[in-house]
């Protein structure tokens, strides 16, 4: 019953709108752009945040990274060419952290030494990473060939090395290279595996690994290279003593990450008054990325909101003009026996047809824009089903909200006066 009348009213609405094609089209523009910007905005925002989340996930959301940082004042005091600066995280810190926090599952120490590596005739400046086998678990890098370091390797203090995909390529190492010998400084290491490297794939996020890494057991690194490193610069030799360059902490649950990070922070502050460390929490970055996304959505959302408001007012304006133009028609319908509510329905359906047609065009445009952005700006975009539902919802409600006033105005006209209207 009701649906039949609605269907016929929609047909009538379309008929009236096609009677004034240009006018209807211009009226729709506001909704077109409003809906288009909502859809495009959501696609770009979703794409950006997925990319950010992807990177953060690579860092591990239950990890906390502690990094040694050279304190600023030490740098200024380096007057003597033989002076040595001591800073950074200590083995003691690792022990303390492990003991003090029940929420910490594992800690992975990292010692970094810069040396040149030689494989056959090829050379590459390497970042030697002395670490424990857990590193490969926490940082989650795939083994491409051979194997990663194991606890037994560590126990045996074996001279073994794992290369990254990038390093392997530069040294012309292949699967056949596994078992061959890599020379680092004056020492010899057997290449046992090649792992994937995530670093340097774009994005501002710092990763614990780099492309030029070569992983060896930390015991070996400690034994062979000690804590002191020399950096020869023009005219002076900079000597540094750092026990641990990084400490990667794995927390048992995502919910405990932030509290643990805060606890670590206050603990470290007590033992490192010079602030020669930095804490970064991938989860915090994730939260930050989400907050950025929210801000982005608010800005674009208000732009979309304003164009929808303008579009809605445009529709209201045109509908009021249309009500005036069709005053006589309204009078006729009322004289024939239409109720006020039926006049309201008729005009609401017309505005809704107008706004949803605009919404459909806007949706088409809004789906094209992300596609163009992806091609032109090389930004990932993701169109979610949610944004389609939103587009339909928005255009429907613009029609209803801005149609109600003109519709009521039409329904409240005095039929006798309406009939007399020229």
């Amino acid at each position: 019953m009701m649906t039949r009348r609605v269907y016929r009213s929609i047909r009538l609405g379309l008929k009236t709108l096609t009677l004034h094609k240009l006018r209807s089209f211009l009226t729709m523009l506001g909704v077109v752009f409003g809906v288009a910007s909502v859809v495009a905005m959501l696609a770009v925002g979703e794409g950006a945040s997925r990319e950010a989340l992807d990177q953060i996930r690579k860092l591990g959301s239950t990890n906390i990274m502690l990094t040694s940082v050279k304190p600023v004042e030490t740098e200024a005091r380096t007057v003597s060419p033989w002076s040595m600066s001591m800073y950074g995280l200590l083995y003691e810190d690792q022990r303390r952290a492990q003991e003090a926090f029940a929420t910490i599952r594992r800690t992975v120490p990292v010692k970094i030494i810069r040396k040149e590596g030689r494989l056959g005739a090829r050379k590459l400046d390497l970042r030697i990473v002395g670490t424990t086998p857990d590193w490969f678990d926490l940082v989650r890098r795939d083994v491409i060939a051979g194997r990663a370091l194991t606890a037994r390797d560590a126990e045996r203090r074996a001279s073994l090395v794992v290369l990254t995909e990038f390093g392997a390529r530069r040294l012309l190492a292949t699967e056949q290279t596994i078992g061959h010998t890599l020379r680092i400084g004056g020492e010899y290491y057997e290449v046992i595996g090649i792992v994937q490297s995530e670093a340097g794939q774009g994005g501002a996020m710092q990763t614990p690994d780099q492309q030029i890494d070569a992983y060896i057991p930390i015991e070996v690194a400690r034994e062979r290279y000690g804590d002191i490193s020399q950096i020869v610069t023009s005219g002076s030799i900079l000597r540094e003593s750092v026990e641990l360059h990084q400490l990667i902490v794995e927390v048992d649950q995502v919910e405990h990450v932030e509290a643990t990070a805060a606890g670590l922070e206050s603990m470290l502050r007590r033992f490192h008054p010079r602030m020669d460390y930095r804490i970064s929490v991938p989860l915090g970055l994730l939260r930050e990325a989400e907050a950025t996304k929210r801000r982005f959505n608010i800005v674009l959302g208000s732009i979309a909101g304003i164009s929808l408001l303008v579009g809605g007012i445009g529709i209201m304006n045109i509908m009021l003009a249309s009500v005036t133009e069709r005053t006589r028609e309204i009078g006729i319908r009322r004289a024939v026996g239409a109720k006020r509510s039926q006049i309201i329905t008729q005009f609401l359906i017309e505005t809704t047809v107008l706004s949803t047609t605009g919404g459909a065009v806007g949706l088409a445009l809004g789906l094209t824009i992300p596609w163009i952005i992806e091609l032109a700006a090389d930004m990932p975009t993701v169109v979610t089903g949610y944004s389609l539902v939103l587009a339909v919802g928005i255009s429907l409600s613009v029609g209803l909200v801005f149609g109600i006033y003109p519709a009521r105005h039409a329904a409240n006209l005095d039929p006798i006066e309406a009939l007399r209207h020229e």
Binding site: T16, E329, I332, R334, A335, G337
Partner: protein
């Protein structure tokens, strides 16, 4: 129709043959400080099956009376009984329903909806009665045929002559099969030959049982009616042909 129990027996009060009864109807328009008494204590009843011509000088309240009869307007004071139902105090929705079911309007300026076809114009009351499309279509075609409009169903009003447009308006008034047709100067925009044709249509409809109340100021046109009512200053001046 049933007669209301205990109805007053004053002149013009309902008896079984009356379709409409007006009792002491006053309609006052407030224009600025001055009151315009468009109808001034009017009491009259129209019998079922009658064909009235309402005449009188301009401004005597003819259209006001017709609008009241058609439930387009409410009196300032007085009682209005239509088909045994007191309608003076009904709300807007109820009045709309009465117009839809019991009354067909015919206007001087035809008042067809320009963007609708002849068929759609005729179907308008059926649309609001929520008839199913097949039934509504059949009724529109049948009514159009009665008025010689069968070959014009898909035309727009603007493509028709004045006489044809008025016949479409009559078809629309008849579509829901109401008992009463109200016509305000139905021939006012037509030449006399076409006017006579329209009057022939109305006469035939009256013979088929429709009660017709028509406003006109042309004596030639009024002659087609069986009863005549003359108005002056919102009151009845004289009546002729009324069945006692």
């Amino acid at each position: 129709m049933t007669q209301p129990v205990g109805a007053p027996s004053a002149r013009g009060m309902p008896n079984g043959a009356d379709l409409v009864c007006l009792e002491d109807i006053t309609k006052i328009y407030q224009v600025g400080d001055t009151e315009v008494r468009a109808l001034d204590g009017l009491t009259v009843s129209f019998q079922r099956g009658s064909f009235w011509a309402i005449m009188g000088p301009s401004g005597s309240g003819k259209s006001t009376l017709l609008n009241l009869l058609g439930c387009l307007d409410r009196p300032t004071a007085g009682r209005y009984v239509l088909e045994g139902q007191d309608v003076a105090d009904l709300d807007d929705n109820a009045l709309s329903t009465i117009r839809l079911r019991h009354i067909g309007f015919i206007f001087q300026s035809f008042n067809l909806i320009p963007q609708l076809t002849v068929r759609e114009n005729i179907e308008l009351p059926l649309f609001y009665l929520d008839w199913n499309p097949d039934r509504s279509r059949a009724r529109a075609e049948e009514t159009a045929a009665r008025l010689g409009l069968s070959d014009r169903l898909n035309h727009r009003p603007a493509e028709l002559s004045g006489g044809q447009q008025q016949r479409v308006a009559i078809a629309r008034a008849l579509a829901a099969n109401p008992n009463m047709l109200l016509a305000d100067e139905p021939t006012g925009n037509l030449d006399s030959a076409t006017g006579a044709q329209i009057m022939a249509v109305l006469t035939e409809l009256n013979q088929q049982g429709k009660t017709i109340i028509m406003v006109t100021h042309e004596t030639d046109i009024a002659r087609h009616a069986r009863q005549r009512l003359h108005m002056r200053d919102g009151r009845i001046d004289s009546m002729e042909g009324a069945a006692a």
